[in-house]
């Protein structure tokens, strides 16, 4: 105790002497040591900062909406018409909450109605365009995949989680005008499709198609077909596919088996058509192995194996304009 008081007193004396000398000679700036915040106070303030509810970026200091929107369009290397883009970020819940606030503040009835348009039309345009574009892409790339499979892939790519993940990493969450924060995923999805619709209005279908391809198709990397598309009876589906191609139905045979009498047996079941093997799949039980073999066979038939050629991003898709005209009608 006494030592601490002595130490503090000596520090102040030294500081006083230093400040005094510095002020007299006028050489440079010497800051007198100020009393820092107490350790417990710093810990408390840090805890308050961490427990504070998340705030919108627009409510934090340093925010210029127009500049941010310009930067957004430059970042994506796209020319947006800024008015269309600004309407794309406006959500209906925002308009309702703003009108409610104005009514509560007692503003005149004429001033209550905001001059803002919704993004619902743009969102529908963007959604339908991206769905049709992705369907065409997949029909071109995997011609053997049936319509249900393509539909499942497109549904996965336009699902809420994926689209909201892409939108958050493109800072669309900061730019949306919405009532709740953090923005719920369906609102993010609608806003992202509205942005795509705005791009469609500004730049035309080809550039929008390139944009959709660049942001959605890489989300399929590393994903297996049957993770995305749930097939309940792969064996039945395989038999249908083989009858369509006039191949005899498959005959399952056990190819290898390990540890049959143990807790973890492993069976490899091979499917043979006309005595030739088409696929082989492992499993813990014989039924599981047969199902897995059917799935492997389907993957081979549809051309969605792991060692297929990676997606071709080089050439832009031609013939899209005609399709777009058809889809919009």
């Amino acid at each position: 105790m006494a030592a601490r008081l002595l130490w503090r007193a000596s520090r102040r004396l030294l500081a006083g002497a230093g400040a005094g000398a510095g002020a007299q000679t006028g050489a440079g700036l010497s800051t007198a040591p100020h009393r820092d915040k107490k350790r417990w106070l710093r810990a408390y303030l840090e805890q308050q900062r961490l427990e504070a509810p998340p705030q919108r970026r627009s409510e934090k200091p340093n925010w210029d909406y127009h500049a941010e929107i310009q930067a957004f369009s430059h970042r994506l290397h796209e020319n947006f018409s800024l008015d269309v883009l600004k309407t794309a970020f406006v959500n209906s819940c925002y308009i309702k909450s703003e009108e409610a606030k104005r009514r509560e503040l007692g503003v005149d009835q004429e001033m209550v109605a905001l001059n803002l348009q919704d993004n619902s039309k743009l969102a529908e345009q963007g959604m339908s365009f991206s769905r049709s574009y992705l369907t065409q892409c997949f029909e071109g790339a995997y011609p053997d995949l049936p319509a249900k499979g393509i539909g499942a892939l497109v549904d996965f790519l336009t699902s809420q989680e994926l689209v909201s993940y892409v939108a958050q990493n493109l800072s669309i969450q900061d730019l949306t005008l919405c009532k709740e924060f953090p923005v719920p995923p369906d609102v993010l999805q609608r806003t992202f499709f509205a942005v795509i619709g705005a791009l469609l209005d500004s730049s035309g279908p080809e550039k929008t198609g390139v944009f959709v391809r660049d942001f959605f198709i890489p989300q399929l990397i590393g994903k297996d077909l049957f993770e995305i598309w749930e097939v309940v009876n792969p064996m039945g589906l395989l038999v249908e596919e083989l009858t369509k191609r006039n191949i005899s139905p498959p005959e399952p045979r056990i190819t290898r088996q390990l540890g049959v009498s143990t807790v973890l047996p492993l069976y490899f079941v091979g499917l043979y058509c006309d005595k030739k093997i088409i696929a082989e799949g492992p499993g813990e039980t014989l039924l599981a192995a047969e199902e897995e073999a059917a799935r492997v066979a389907l993957r081979k038939l549809y051309g969605y194996t792991e060692n297929r050629r990676p997606w071709d991003y080089s050439k832009p898709k031609q013939g899209l304009a005609a399709e777009k005209a058809i889809s919009s009608n």
Partner: protein, 109 residues
């Protein structure tokens, strides 16, 4: 040097990087700080107190070119999405199957 940057080089930097929004605001803090906010939410602060104007420009261009991923040690300098072309090896890959093996003990069926 910080003030020199704001007076001279900030406009040029902002024009050369149209996708970055540059905010200049006086702060009642101990030291001038360059705060970089990335699209995925990471925020990086760099002290620019005793740096020359050119150094600040270089630092700003470096921060503008980074993505917001954490700066940690990269475990391996290679990555592939197709680790296996012909199928990954497992202990039963090249073992002949019981149906086709022809040896002194097993007869072909």
């Amino acid at each position: 040097a910080c003030r020199q940057f704001v007076e001279e080089a900030a406009l040029d930097f902002a024009r050369q990087h149209p996708d970055v929004v540059l905010y200049v605001s006086p702060r009642a803090g101990p030291a001038p700080v360059l705060l970089a906010e990335y699209l995925n939410g990471t925020v990086r602060e760099e002290l620019i107190a005793s740096k020359t104007s050119e150094e600040i420009v270089q630092l700003a261009t470096k921060l503008a070119g980074q993505s917001g991923l954490d700066i940690i040690r990269i475990r391996k300098p290679f990555h592939t999405d197709n680790p296996s072309i012909q199928g990954q090896w497992h202990p039963l890959t090249n073992k002949p199957s019981a149906l086709t093996v022809q040896g002194p003990r097993l007869q072909p069926q």
